[in-house]
Amino acid sequence: MSWSALLGLAIVLGLAPLLPGVAAKTRARLTGRRGAPLLQLYRDLARLWRKGVVYSRTTTFAFRVAPVVLVVTAVLAACLVPLDGRRALVGFSGDFVAFAALLALGRFALVLAAWDTGSSFEGMGASREVTVAAFAEPALFLTFVALVLASGSLSLGGALGAPLAAAWPSAAPALALVTASLFLVLLAEGSRVPVDDPATHLELTMIHEVMVLDHSGLDLALILYGGALKLSLFGALLVGAVAPRAEIPPAIAVGVLVAGLLVVAMAVGVVESVMARLRLSRVPQFLTAASALAALAVILLLVR
């Protein structure tokens, strides 16, 4: 356990709410608006923290524990990502299976909470959420396979660390495909355009937002924070794949991560301002394309 890994974790946990703000600001600027402040999500979280909660009489324990599970699983998943480019706090052979499974557990809890309200809106949102996830999961795992093949390491610490840096020169095309695929997965898992639109105001067109319609106060704050953390984790994977930084000093490596996360958030904002969201029935095709890119990368690495 190194100080730089802890520093990376602290920075990601602290900066996570900034990323949606950066994405929204970029989108606003590019579309000619001033937009909400960069720190809007921090303000929202602080406001929700102070507020009371409203519960539906239909709900049970499942509804109230879900936000806690979401945040805990996201934090544990963060411990598995090598945030300083060297070693994660927790790293073991096959740890990315645990990474995906932890995030899936958080999703499972939220989906059950949506069922718990007995609302048809939330049921619809939950249904869409699991559909999107079912198509995103193979793409995510294929990018992991490609990283494992490129680096020869079965752990995220190695697959995004020094062995990957050594592999970049010889496997650049495959790794570029991995990066592209990972970015598409990030858009889906982070509930961004073109899969989902965080700025929409009509329940019928939402995915993630409508699933958490009945949460309020502290519960909603936890869900918003968990979502932002998840977005930054995928961003950290992306930065790790593009810029393996085991060779540079740890403090700078963490700095590069922060800069990289901001760039990813701006890229998300650019995507949001240049394209509309896809029709829901097109989303599987979009994510299948992500799987296809990653599969192509795997093939390139296999025949290398």
Partner: protein
């Protein structure tokens, strides 16, 4: 071995006691519970000894029939499956006592319990048989007893139909097994497993015929796609504890058979490994997809057995490829994943079936869209079902995650072995299976236990008694132990895997060293997960105690009187995925006026097997006129046959004559 035989004798005796003591029902039930529970516990001890490195004796019966002596013994593979048989068997049998107590007609119920006990005995003998003749005999006994258990409610036409399809399929499978042992036995001195193993190198074409017949025969029992079509019907209509026994244990005999085949015949040919891998992928993806389409809780769970057999086959396939390509670590990890997932699936699937049985007892319906809100009324059943759901989806901190992680390990490491590198694509398949399983159990858990009751039956559901809850609690405990302390189960699984495919004991040590630290980390992650959720819950409660809390209706866009009928249904929940997979999902939509109905068909049973059977029947009708019962016609046939024979001989003599 004496302890084992004594134990299963006690189980059999427990079954008979129930019938013999029928004049004292309370004594009979007590004797049954004591003897079956105690017998299973006694018989499992030698298995545990073998798994921890010890040995158990052998039982040899001088046989007067051909095929050599009848031998029974316990090796690591047998021992591991004995854990499955006896653990899940005891839980299912004890659950059955309370479950069937509300059925009318004491006679059939007593018989059902006695047959359940005998089924456990037959299963235990199948996995300990050491030669082909007793193996086939106990196999047949097991299959036929299972038939009688399935048709318990034989007054219903659905049940009779499902039973018949099951019986036909299981016998077709046995036919392939008889052919397997007959063709193999020709080369061996007798039909004992030792002799067969010694003859394995002499088998022609890399034992291609043996492996093909084994995949067919054992595949029917395991229920892999496309040989699965008997399974959902039979498991769906059987009494719930029987479904648990069948899904948890009986279909695992197919897996046992495949593993035994790899154990005796050594590393399978490469095509067999690929075939098993592809069949595993197909079974996994299609099984979970068809499960998503179901409206009937128990049929849905039955399709999940097909899915999990697929995951087991993925492990077996990559293990076989590893053994063939000289990558013993890959082989051991793949085999160990298959073996451990067999145990895990037995635990969580029987838990889920027992939970479904509790729901059925409490409400009287298996239709998911007529249930809802049961979590409030049946909190313990809900808790047990939730544990089973998290386990089957393969999420930490439970056991499903551990075995799926092992299979992932095997698949990922296959990328480094030259001839079988493409097996890494199995990773994407397994990820898809996992994500679809999450969707499916979110659908079941949500629609059955959360929200508001969708019917009067669901409104009247009450928590079931301790007789049903205790076996569920025991199985849930098993899931939690393997999830929280994976090394407990992984090291025996590695020991078993080292006996398969001729990889050798050293490979198990290498594999154990490769994943040892990871197992510790998984245990720590699981513990941290539980501790952090508990801490988070405590913090949240403290913060909220200082905030105002209000209770109101669910938000429905301003609509003031939400109604249970306004809830999302399980069918709509699955609809986007069903639509994305189109015809492969096997969902048929019908429109009646303003109402939409969807019903799920089985593409193999309804699309292939039944039409094929109709075709066979039609051919039968076509040749029917030759049988009319008139003597002169049969004389004519005899004359024709004689003439034909003479003609043949004359022509043949003319062709090759002197």
């Amino acid at each position: 071995m004496t302890l084992f035989l004594g134990g299963i004798a006690a189980v059999a005796l427990g079954g008979l006691a129930l019938v013999a003591l029928s004049f004292r029902p309370r004594w009979a039930a007590a004797a049954f519970q004591l003897l079956v529970g105690g017998g299973c516990m006694a018989a499992v001890l030698p298995a545990l000894r073998v798994l921890s490195g010890g040995t158990a004796g052998e039982l040899r019966i001088r046989a007067t029939v051909p095929g050599g002596d009848w031998v029974f013994g316990i090796d690591p593979l047998s021992a591991f499956f004995l854990l499955v048989v006896l653990g899940v068997g005891a839980a299912a049998a004890l659950y059955g006592v309370s479950y069937l107590s509300s059925e009318s007609g004491a006679g059939p119920v007593r018989t059902a319990h006695a047959v359940t006990a005998l089924e456990i005995v037959a299963l235990a003998l199948v996995v300990t048989a050491r030669s082909a003749i007793p193996f086939l005999i106990t196999w047949e006994i097991m299959a036929v007893l299972a038939y009688f258990l399935v048709v318990f409610e034989s007054r219903l036409p659905d049940v009779r139909r499902a039973g018949l399809i099951y019986l036909i399929c299981t016998h077709t499978g046995t036919l392939a097994l008889v052919a397997l042992f007959a063709s193999w036995g020709q080369l061996a001195g007798d039909l004992s497993f030792d002799a067969l193993a010694a003859a394995a190198p002499a088998l022609p074409a890399g034992a291609a015929l043996v492996f093909a017949l084994g995949l067919c025969g054992f595949g029917f029992k395991a229920g892999l796609v496309p040989l699965h079509f008997w399974l959902p019907g039979a498991h769906g209509v059987a009494p719930s504890h029987v479904s648990a026994l069948m899904s948890g244990v009986v279909i695992k005999m197919g897996i046992y058979g495949l593993l035994r085949l790899v154990n005796l015949a050594g590393a399978p040919p490469a095509w067999w490994g690929w075939l098993v891998l592809v069949l595993g992928l197909g079974s996994g993806v299609l099984g979970v997809l068809w499960a998503l389409a179901q409206h009937d809780l128990k049929r849905l769970l039955a399709y999940h057995s097909v899915e999990n057999i697929g995951i087991i086959l993925l492990g077996l396939g990559v293990g076989a490829l590893g053994a063939r390509s000289g990558a013993p670590t890959v082989a051991v990890l793949g085999f160990a994943g298959a073996v451990l997932h067999t145990l895990n699936h037995a635990l969580f699937k029987s838990l889920l079936f027992l939970g479904a049985g509790a729901v059925l007892r409490a409400t009287g319906t298996r239709l998911i869209d007529r249930l809802g809100g049961l979590g409030r009324r049946m909190p313990y059943t809900w808790g047990a079902f939730l544990v089973g759901s998290i386990a089957i989806v393969g999420l930490p901190p439970l056991n499903g995650f551990v075995s799926e992680w092992l299979v992932y390990q095997g698949l990922l490491r296959s990328g480094a072995m030259a001839p079988a590198r493409a097996a890494v694509f199995g990773v994407a398949g397994l990820a898809l299976i996992g994500a679809l399983a999450l969707a499916c159990f979110a659908k079941v858990g949500g629609a059955v236990f959360l929200g508001q009751p969708r019917s009067a039956q669901a409104r009247e559901g009450r928590e079931v008694g301790v007789g049903l809850l205790a076996p569920m609690a025991a199985l849930a405990f098993g899931c939690a132990v393997i999830g929280m302390a994976p090394a407990v189960a992984v090291s025996p699984a590695l020991r078993v895997a080292a006996t398969l495919g001729g990889v050798g004991r050293g490979a198990a040590g290498e594999a154990a060293a490769a994943i040892g630290p990871a197992l510790t980390w998984i245990a720590l992650t699981a513990a941290a997960l539980l501790a952090l959720v508990a801490a988070g819950w405590w913090l949240r409660t403290r913060v909220l105690s200082r905030r105002p809390q209000a209770w109101t209706e669910t938000w429905a866009c301003g609509y003031a009187r939400p109604d249970p009928r306004m809830q999302y249904t399980a069918a709509s929940f699955a609809a986007p995925l069903m639509a994305a997979y189109g015809r492969a999902a096997g969902v048929h939509v019908t429109r009646e006026g303003g109402a939409f109905h969807t019903h799920a068909t089985d593409p193999v049973l309804d699309g292939v097997a039944l039409p094929l059977w109709q075709r066979v029947l039609a051919w039968g009708q076509a040749v029917r006129p030759i049988q009319q019962g008139r003597l002169w016609m049969y004389l004519l046939y005899v004359l024709g046959a004689l003439l034909g024979l003479l003609l043949y001989l004359a022509l043949r003599a003319g062709g090759t004559g002197p």
